[in-house]
Amino acid sequence: MSEVLEPPLAHAATGESPNQVETLRQRLGGDIQLQETADGIPNLWVPRNRLLEVMRGLKDDYPLLFDLSAVDERVRNNRHGLPDADFTVFYHLISLARNSDLRIKVALPEGDSSLPSLTSVWPAANWYEREAYDMFGVNFEGHPNLYRILTPALWEGHPLRKEHPARATEMDPFRMSDELLDAQQESLRFKPEEWGMSRGAKHTDFMFLNLGPNHPSVHGVFRIALQLDGEVVVDAVPDIGYHHRGAEKMGERQSWHTYIPYTDRVDYLGGVMNNLPYVMAVEKMAGIEVPDRAKVIRIMMSEFFRIASHLLFFGTFAQDVGQMSPVFYMFADRERLFSIVEAITGGRMHPSWFRIGGVGQDLPEGWDTMVRDFVDYMPARVDHYDKMATKNGILKRRTIGVGQYNNAEAVEWGITGPGMRATGLDWDLRKQRPYGGYDQFDFEVPLAANGDCYDRCVVRVEEIRQSLRIIRQCLNNMPAGPYKAEHPQTTPPPKERTMQDIETLIQHFLNVSWGPVIPPSECSVMIEATKGWNSYYLTSDGGTMSYRTRIRTPSFAHLQMIPLISRGFMIADLIAIIASIDFVMADVDR
């Protein structure tokens, strides 16, 4: 057993050699401490008074601010050799040119948890800092509007602090009184002055329109306050948090195994693809090597869900710009696809089917017939939809040139996935950093050039074809062998291992009742999810539950960019822009 509890050796999976890290550290100055984590990403602890200077210096090398959040360190036991901190704020930076990552960490004491805001360096830091403020109470000095972003304006406390209750049933029961209703409604009133907006210009009075949180075209509970000059959008303020389900806090009270169903519901159109970064991160920390069959099954199911998600995008996108019928065709095909998902996993939208160390079951007999039927049937349908929807003149006129951004802006705002590739940036994690066995597959990365609504649609349609190609390769080359790893931490363990003697029985009992114990370590894994780059950054304190689960979702960054790309367009164009981003609110608010 003892070899299992050793954290696996860190390896430079992200292309940064120890020499480069050392050079970087020398360049930044002597008071910077290096920390190694299981994912191989170098972590540099920077004193907060030097943060702005260091970050400004790093921006040219690492232009993409991938993630920013915090950790409440106050009750963490295993922090050997790390700087003293009550709260840690971390910044995950990515260099696309060198394909490498860097994490910057800042230690903060409890009584004085404030540090300079990075909004002047990265505009994308705005929402991330607001979230860290909302969740941890960290104060970012110089932030233009440091308001709560996920919890209601009248919320008390900071939910991800360890002293904040996790369960609703630990708190006073919710009661809807007239006073509460009035106070909440009043707090939702949009005040332009708070956002630095004027109520009128020289020759016009602006109208402020409230779109959402319940509106047929905003794809979920999402609100945008619009500043309008006639029907032209002058500015927009997205307001999120109506779909905040506390998924990160949930990770701190579910065992490593029982948290898997919660990941399904983060990007609820992505199904089992959400399980993938989570179980891969846990496996990396536990040192589990997944057998080939499990890898290929995972890839096949993930690509099925990519198709399901893109089909829903395609249908609703066409509907939002005025085509009524495509959505009916695409939902019918989703049902065909779900019949396969159901036959294999037993579930539809949320199968929660990946496991730590493998998948839930082996493939049923006859799965290949169903999958072959589908991959034979679907390409002609995609061609048909392409002709029916994307080649349609009205759809083109409504979307070409609308909501455009270039690849520099995409990087600046942390736009990933199809939205990034629509600008011509050839970056697909499945190609650039093949994970979970994608290096064995032959497929292309669809690109477009203009980065407008139309291109985002075209890229996704082509991705459906490529996913079908990957699924066909899975079908023709499905390896034989076990679907679960031979490893004590595999959850639940293979049944054959359990009934041997008292030792294996106890092992099984503990593994099922407490769940696996993951050695103290930190690890993040990112994947190319349906909507962009999704990463789970897990911190284990050597227990049966995660100490901190950070979920970086693509849609959060994408929504932040809406004002930038919708200024100057009409309201109807804004609807096309919103549809072309392809988000679900659970993927934004978690």
Partner: protein, 241 residues
């Protein structure tokens, strides 16, 4: 309505005047209690509000599209504004930040109005016993039908809808606000589980376990390919290329 087939025979006796009179009376009149008549009409003209909160809404949308086609049950006129709707399906998690908005929308629905709580989150909070989630929409709204599932299958929502229709028929609501005793007189509601378990357990055909390729689902869905609109050689106008 009564009708009969008669052969065209010239010497057959004609219906008597009294018979004709009785027939016309039967055609032209319907006797019923007004309450029942209105309730029957209401049950089959529910106008749902286009409202969704999270994952469940995707399954609700699936129930509305081709495969399941909820309009077969007479509830497909989805309205974009609550002021034109009388049914709200709480499809998804009720968030604390969203609860006042849900209440506001409910208040704007037309009377009489009905609520279907769809999915575990709306029923009880479900797996999300977490600070930001109201533990069930019935903490502040009166719920008529609970549909279990996470998310419920489209078929489950349709069953919930038909249950609601039965309830609307059986339990008429006041036409408007009334002075004095308000609300409906609810009979004992039998548990659906108790009522249906005997039927559900009466399995007549068992599929061979572990073999999905020959399951009827697969055959229906994939083998019998419907004639694709994109038949090769023809474009949208039907002309040969």
């Amino acid at each position: 309505m009564q009708w009969r087939l008669v052969k065209a025979e010239a010497d057959a006796p004609m219906a008597s005047a009294d018979e004709v009179y009785q027939e016309q009376v039967a055609k032209g009149f319907l006797t019923a209690k007004l309450d029942d008549l209105v309730a029957w009409g209401r049950a089959h003209s529910l106008w749902p509000f286009n409202f969704g909160l999270s994952c469940c809404y995707v399954e609700m949308a699936t129930a509305l599209t081709s495969r399941h086609d909820m309009s077969r049950f007479g509830a497909e006129v989805i309205r974009a504004t609550p002021r034109q709707a009388d049914l709200i399906v709480i499809a998804g998690t009720v968030f604390r930040k969203m609860a006042p908005v849900v209440q506001h929308l409910y208040d704007q629905l037309l009377e009489p109005k009905w609520v279907i709580s769809m999915g575990s989150c709306a029923n009880s909070g479900g797996m999300f016993d977490i600070y930001s989630v109201v533990q069930g929409v019935d903490k502040f709204l009166p719920v008529d039908v609970y549909v279990p599932g996470c998310p419920p299958r489209p078929e489950a929502l349709m069953q919930g809808l038909t249950l609601l229709q039965e309830a609307v028929k059986a339990r008429p609501r006041p036409y408007s606000w009334i002075v004095g005793e308000d609300g409906e007189v609810s009979k004992y509601q039998p548990s659906q589980r108790d009522a249906r378990t005997p039927v559900r357990m009466r399995v007549t055909e068992l599929e061979e376990p572990g073999n999905v390729g020959d399951a009827p689902l697969s055959k229906d869905l994939l083998r019998q390919k419907s004639p694709s609109p994109a038949t090769p050689g023809r474009d949208g106008t039907g002309r040969r290329r």
